[in-house]
Amino acid sequence: MTALIEITGLRKQFGGLTAVDDVSFVVAEGEIVALLGPNGSGKTTVLNMISGALAPTSGAIRLAGEEIAGLGPHRIAHKGVARTFQLVRILPSLTVGENVMAALAFRHPPVWGGAAEARVETLLEEIGLGGRGAERADNLTYIDQKRMELARALAAEPRLLLLDEWLSGLNPTELQVGIELILSLRRSGMTVLLVEHIMEAVRALCSRAVVMNAGRTIADGPTEAVLADADVIRAYLGEDHA
């Protein structure tokens, strides 16, 4: 398996606070990897540096061998990275269709006009929002907003998809649907790095997990082994449970 994304010695400092400290891991082509850790451990910051929302203080991020650390988000998007956000970000004054269209129109190469409209409809169909393209995005329920956000990320046909707690806030039935959706992405060969707190989903989806605590990686390996690791349990649940 070839490495799609290779992170080495990644650091991010906000003034005196080191949010991410010397993090290194690799995600291979076609893998679904979980990035775990307690709140404030730096997971989202790592995702933000990969997508270009934040520039690293130091360290390297290579996408298929090409250095992308410090590039602007639109340039990283053009290289094939798409993401969803921890707090779902919709474009409220646009329609559901336009929300997805936005990703089609500005990817490389762009899709526009009739072809784009057809593609939007297919994507909405796949994600469970078929025929609702004309609705205003801010009228959608929370789960449908999350669906739309995923459709927007998929519209870019990314090589690497970053999901930031995309499954959180769903009820048990919706969770099953969500897990099924992500599994179908794996079957299509997409590489996914996801930040998630729902262990049920992590076990079902991810072959490998990377665990962070206080800005550092404390474990990296097959999901089951990592979740049984004493350090990981200590980080999540405290000293008594280890």
Partner: protein, 319 residues
């Protein structure tokens, strides 16, 4: 296809009728038409950039004044069409420089910067005229009649609104809407935010510069306090807001009635004009911050919803 053809014929006819209007009016009427068309163009050009991005610019008069001054300086050395080209080029260059420097600023900082910019350019021109040329004012003697100015402005207005229509259906229009909603999402779907904003700011500023240049011969005498008068920026802004800066026809719908109202006010209440103007500004921002068109549309959709709610009930009863 037939609809599009009909629309083209309709607008061509409307434009021809507007172009024919001056023959029916005296000098005062032509002056009124000219001023009105000028503000329609200014408000439409302002809304091209500020409408979708929600970056409120008070630099309108900076570009307007640059256009007028370019004409004043060059009126005796270059043929008229060439002067317009030079004015547009100067406006474009200033817009690119200013845009590169300021489009990183967000919200109120951008507003303040653009206001400061207009004042800075006015003071620079004043300083230059007083210290280098020695006289504050300049005369413009160009053999261009009121009608001719009106026709030029009419053409520019048509181009501006046409451009707005085209942008609305193009990729750049979608980019602007996305940027207006959420810049983080915009960047993450691959939009080069800085480039889109800069392009729109430059186009908008160039049109505004041309309005100033085309109107310049009308004054005969110009000085910084006339052509760099900040009221022009405020009037443009309030006209676009009244009509709705996010709609194609919004700025036009705001500019026509407000321009006529201001004309009437300045003729009948010359001493209280500024006070009434201020009160009007406040009233517009309070009563309809989204503009008249948005208000009408909301009213319509409410009526429509009531109609739709009534319908299913009717069909159920029939079943």
């Amino acid at each position: 296809m037939v609809r599009a053809l009909l629309a083209v014929i309709f607008f061509a006819g409307a434009l021809a009728a507007l172009a024919w209007l001056p023959t029916q009016f005296g000098a005062y009427g032509v002056g009124l038409l000219l001023g009105m068309t000028g503000y329609v163009t200014l408000a439409s050009a302002w809304a091209l950039f500020s409408g979708p991005t929600r970056y409120v610019s008070l630099a309108t008069v900076a570009f307007f004044g640059i256009g007028a001054y370019t004409v004043a300086v060059l009126s005796e050395t270059l043929p008229y069409p060439l002067i317009l080209l030079v004015a547009a080029a100067v406006g474009l260059c200033v817009a690119l420089v200013v845009g590169l420097a300021t489009l990183r600023l967000a919200g109120v900082y951008f507003v303040i910067f653009t206001f400061g910019l207009a004042e800075l350019i006015r003071q620079l021109v004043t300083w230059y005229e007083v210290n280098i040329t020695g006289t504050l004012g300049r005369y413009i003697f160009l053999p261009i009649s009121g009608e001719q100015i009106y026709w030029q402005l009419l053409a520019l207005a048509a181009v501006t609104i046409g451009l707005g229509w085209w942008i609305g259906r193009s990729r750049i229009g979608l980019a602007l809407k996305v940027i207006g909603d959420d810049e983080v999402v915009a960047a993450h779907v691959g939009i080069n935010i800085a480039r889109v904003k800069l392009a729109l700011f430059a186009v908008s500023a160039t049109i505004i510069t041309l309005v100033g240049a085309i109107q310049a011969p009308r004054w005969t005498y110009v000085e910084p306090s006339i052509v760099f008068n900040p009221t022009i920026s405020f009037l443009t802004l309030i006209m676009a807001l009244l009509g709705g800066a996010n709609r194609l026809w919004g700025p036009l719908l705001g500019a026509v009635p407000l321009f006529l109202l201001f004309e009437w006010l300045s003729a009948n209440f010359p001493n209280h004009y500024s006070i009434i103007l201020g009160l009007l500004f406040i009233a517009i921002v309070f009563v309809m911050p989204q503009g008249v068109l948005a208000m009408v549309e909301r009213g319509w959709s409410r009526v429509g919803q009531r109609g739709r709610k009534a319908e299913p009930a009717g069909t159920e009863a029939a079943q």
